[in-house]
């Protein structure tokens, strides 16, 4: 998995690429901890180029959400591929994560 970090105002955008699984999820977990250490509280994860996620990857998303909430932060997801949406639903994640179709809409979701 590749991970590119961008900024849009006070929003940290993480553009993810590839697989989010047992081999790669640690990279994302470490990155989220770095962001929190720097005091940033608005995180957007862009899934446009994520083609695979398993329960290890989903677990890291929940951990990130819990950490951000604890620090009065917010985590928003966007651009999840259609074929992966059902897994987010079955996992109960559509109830607890704000999920947007585009990155632009997601950035506005922090307002």
């Amino acid at each position: 998995m590749e991970l590119v970090e961008k900024r849009d105002g006070d929003v940290t955008i993480l553009v993810l690429n590839g697989r989010l699984d047992s081999n790669t999820s640690k990279i994302l977990e470490d990155k989220v901890m770095d962001i929190l250490r720097l005091g940033n509280k608005k995180v957007l994860m862009d899934f446009l180029d994520v083609d695979y996620i398993n329960s290890t990857g989903l677990r890291v998303l929940l951990l990130a959400l819990q950490q951000l909430k604890k620090n009065q932060g917010k985590l928003i997801l966007c651009c999840i591929k259609d074929y992966m949406k059902e897994v987010f639903e079955i996992s109960g994640y559509t109830e607890i994560f704000p999920i947007f179709a585009t990155q632009d809409d997601a950035v506005k979701g922090f307002a």
Partner: protein
């Protein structure tokens, strides 16, 4: 067109790449939709990751057999291993209604397996775990 593929994997996590490739190839040969290929990969990944990560307490090499069979619009899977007895159907279901703060980390993998497959059956026989999964292709 019916087809059977049998994979013999050793109990090492990098073997999951080989499994993923085989599932992708199988799905593409039969024109499965992207979503179905992904969900099959996911289910087998979750189950095999569990077996490889937690099933063995010795340092020996163990063989895990994965059979994928397409027959009469049904997809049938068989996973057989000599790991410690583990019935995924008896695993706790995570509470997916609790608040973010209280939501437990873990247990999600087996939950996904149960939800994404139409039939899951487990037996322990002759010292082996045998898991039979079935997905009806609509």
């Amino acid at each position: 067109m019916d087809e059977v593929v049998v994979l013999r994997l050793s109990n090492h996590l990098p073997e999951l790449d080989r499994l993923a490739e085989a599932v992708e190839a199988f799905g593409e040969r039969h024109d499965f939709p992207r979503k179905m290929i992904y969900q099959i990969r996911l289910v087998l990944d979750e189950l095999l990751t569990n077996v490889i990560s937690y099933g063995f307490s010795d340092d020996k090499n163990h063989e895990i057999v994965v059979e994928i069979r397409l027959a009469d619009s049904r997809l049938l899977f068989r996973i057989e291993d000599d790991a410690a007895p583990f019935d995924p159907l008896r695993a706790d279901t995570p509470d997916l209604t609790s608040t973010v703060e209280d939501r437990a980390i873990g247990g999600l993998g087996i939950h996904l397996v149960r939800k994404l497959m139409d039939i899951v059956r487990y037996e322990h026989r002759d010292g082996k775990n045998r898991l039979f999964l079935e997905k009806i292709i609509s």
